[in-house]
């Protein structure tokens, strides 16, 4: 449907889809940029966030409670995971890190499946955001518009915490020379743990925010993980701004290409990723890669 009205609709829709991808991918890229660990359990974090929010909602009926509980649970899972498992893998080869996080991801999925079964679960949007909004050129679900705002605020908050606070300074110093930061009497490991927790929480939070848009199933994290990888490859692995830009680009590609032939949306996404890799192997905003 190549019409102007449809083009504007799809551009806006791309923004909404991209915002969510940006939030998920930001967590993945922050963890990689800071700790050098590629967390393949990140998709599972997204899923756990959704389920934690779902449980909180089914007890309280409150959207805010779902957001808080979901974020809190995933933060806790992230902290424990870093303390118990990931910490022992910082000095080990990337293959080991990939294997252990991949394995943890499978465990999380199966644990959730054990308790909740495989049927999808969903949660209605909060009453005030549940209607339809007319934007002139299109009607759009009000909640999806709210998602854009919620995600924008969260991205800004994460940015401020990680890059404009004392914690952020320590993190960046720790990346440069963790031994020296240690000598200054700062517990680098604790900081790393917090970063891992916050990175995971970003995915978990996205999982809850997404819950009223699309229902959750235990294996939903798999496809999200793949998309998040595409996003950070396009944006630049380890770059926070790159994740945001990559997310928006991916959202727009998926939406706009659907106007021509929806069956090829994902093909278009991967084609763009390939193109970026050929022209700028470190991604659009990627800095020098870690070794």
């Amino acid at each position: 449907m190549l019409t102007w009205a449809n083009l504007w609709s799809q551009v806006f829709n791309g923004l909404a889809r991209g915002a969510l991808l940006a939030l998920i991918s930001s967590g993945l890229t922050v963890i990689y940029g800071t700790l050098g660990v590629l967390n393949l359990a990140h998709g599972a974090m997204f899923m756990i966030g959704g389920y934690a929010g779902y449980v909180a909602f089914s007890y309280t009926g409150s959207f805010i409670a779902a957001l808080l509980a979901g974020s809190g649970v995933v933060l806790a899972v992230g902290l424990v995971m870093e303390r118990v498992v990931i910490r022992h893998f910082y000095d080990r080869p990337h293959e080991d890190q990939i294997l252990v996080t991949f394995g943890l991801g499978i465990c999380f999925v199966e644990i959730i499946r054990f308790f909740f079964g495989s049927l999808s679960r969903s949660m209605p949007p909060p009453a005030r955001l549940s209607g339809i909004t007319s934007l002139g050129f299109m009607v759009y679900p009000t909640y999806r518009i709210a998602v854009v705002a919620i995600v924008a605020v969260s991205l800004l908050a994460i940015y401020l915490i990680l890059y404009r606070t004392r914690l952020g300074m320590i993190v960046r110093a720790g990346i440069e020379d963790s031994g020296m930061v240690d000598c200054l009497g700062i517990d680098v490991h604790r900081v790393f743990m917090v970063v891992f927790g916050i990175g995971s929480m970003a995915a978990g939070f996205a999982g809850i925010v997404n819950l009223p848009v699309a229902p959750i199933t235990p294996d939903m994290g798999d496809s999200i993980l793949v998309q998040a990888f595409v996003v950070i490859v396009i944006g630049g692995v380890g770059s926070y701004a790159g994740a945001v830009l990559g997310g928006l680009i991916a959202g727009e590609i998926l939406s706009i290409s659907s106007m021509i032939d929806p069956a090829y949306s994902y093909v278009a996404l991967f084609a763009v990723m390939t193109l970026v890799l050929m022209v700028r192997p470190r991604g659009l905003l990627g800095a020098e890669s870690r070794t």
Binding site: N6, F116, G117, V213, A214, T217, D219, S258
Partner: protein, 455 residues
């Protein structure tokens, strides 16, 4: 915590992969021993070895491999199917009156042998399903394999069945290809499928929605979606001069339909024909409402998913037309439907959906074919099926076509009721018509079905 308990008990009732493997190991040893001890030279002389015959009938029981989607977008449908299989096998082993109505020669079990079964998860994925059923065939010497939901799985298992010479009964799987270009000698489909459903629906749609309407298709991107789209498009074009405004093709398991729905909203279509199935259907219909599509366009669901109305709610389904294999209110006119519903409700506490109905009926018809053949030797059983005996069923009299192994059975055309018109909490649909499929079906060779060899 009620939902959690429910899920747990469901897991507990189902058979896990580990259990199946353990049972399999025990069975393999026991089976091997009994094979040597009990193999009857007389029977072996009658029929040569073929597939799992005669190893699979050496003991006092025969094994049936069931593989349905228990995870993924078709999980709810798969669980319903499993309940149908379990009830049918229980009835078979007990010689229940309902089962005897469908398979009159049955006394207990099949040819005096108890029927045992294993359950595996196909994930609606052809590779997973082929692996699971291959294990049932090689380790348990399954004499029959059954189940699917996705036509892509059915097509893959059709081929496995032909190669392994084990009878296969696809469940649901409404693509024309299952008994069309991908038909095989060893596969028999009970369910409704694209072509006759489109032929039965088209006149109802044209009469109620008008002529020369513009269609927006929502099509899942595999054999089922494409053949249903094609059959619907052809039937509506020919019978009402309808045209296609847009065809939105989405991958199986899509959760966010926003882009597709915006294209539909901007297409100028009058009618949305939503071919998605399982969770995909639920999500796309719910999200369509959020994009304001439900108010402007009529909804048609050619192959309506089990549990659809329960999941999306009567408000979104009111006025929607669709096709189905079975709907529980048929019990008002069909005595066997009442028997099935009563037995099913007693055991599972809800009305059987058409996945469960299909599963039950196909097991009963298999028992009937084996009993009539008087032997488990696959070519004999196949010939008994192909004889096309008229059988009683919860949807009236049915029979198999020998030339393409498709059951000739009615298509149930339904319309979503207004919430105020519902007589009970599960009374979502009005049965508009029970369409006799025989005159609606294509000629057996129209989709180039070549059945292949008996041995």
């Amino acid at each position: 915590m009620s939902y959690r308990k429910r899920e747990r008990s469901r897991t507990a009732r189902g058979v896990s992969r580990r259990e199946v493997l353990r049972m399999g190991a025990g069975w393999a040893v026991g089976g091997a021993l009994s094979q040597y001890a009990l193999a009857t030279p007389a029977r072996a002389a009658e029929h040569p070895e073929l597939g799992t015959y005669p190893a699979g009938i050496a003991g006092p029981s025969v094994f049936v491999g069931i593989c349905t989607p228990r995870t993924g977008p078709y999980a709810a449908v798969g669980e319903d199917e499993i309940k149908g299989y379990q009830l049918a096998i229980e009835h078979l082993n007990l010689g229940d009156p309902l089962l005897k109505r469908i398979s009159p020669r049955t006394s207990r079990g099949v040819l005096g042998k108890e029927v045992k079964y294993g359950i595996a998860d196909s994930e609606a994925n052809p590779n997973t399903a082929v692996q699971a059923q291959s294990r049932f065939i090689s380790e348990k010497k399954a004499m029959m394999i059954a189940g699917c939901a996705s036509s892509a799985v059915a097509v893959a298992l059709n081929k496995l069945a032909q190669r392994e010479k084990v009878i296969y009964l696809p469940c649901l799987a409404a693509s024309n290809d299952v008994t069309g270009k991908d038909c095989t000698r060893y596969s028999f489909r009970e369910g409704i499928y694209a072509y006759p459903t489109a032929q039965a629906l088209a006149p109802v749609l044209v009469a109620n929605l008008g002529k020369a309407k513009k269609i927006a298709f929502l099509t899942p991107d595999y054999t089922y979606g494409h053949t249903v789209r094609q059959s619907m498009e052809e039937a509506l074009k020919a019978q009402g001069g309808w045209s296609v405004a847009t065809n939105q093709v989405s991958p199986l398991g899509t959760t966010d339909f926003s882009s597709y729905l915006l294209n539909v909203a901007n297409s100028g279509a009058d009618v949305v024909i939503n071919i998605n199935f399982g969770r995909d259907a639920v999500l796309s219909i719910k999200q369509a409402a959020q994009f304001g599509i439900g108010d402007r366009m009529a909804l048609v669901i050619p192959i309506s998913t089990p549990f659809l109305a329960q999941e999306v709610g009567a408000d979104l389904m009111k006025g929607a037309y669709g096709g189905m294999g079975y709907w529980w209110t048929l019990e008002e006119t069909y005595p066997l439907a009442r028997m099935l519903n009563e037995a099913f409700r007693k055991k599972y506490n809800y009305n059987p959906e058409y996945g469960a109905h299909s599963a039950y009926l196909q097991v009963a018809m298999w028992a009937d074919a084996v009993e009539r053949a008087g032997s488990f030797y696959p070519p004999d059983v196949i010939k008994a099926y192909e004889a096309g005996a008229k059988l009683q069923s919860p949807v009236g009299e049915v029979y198999f076509r020998g030339a393409d192994h498709q059951l000739v059975r009615p298509v149930i055309i339904i319309k979503g009721k207004k919430p105020s018109a519902m007589r009970s909490s599960d009374d979502y649909y009005e049965v508009v018509k029970v369409a006799d499929a025989a005159p609606l079906m294509q000629k057996p060779d129209a989709f180039s079905c070549q059945l292949g060899s008996y041995d």
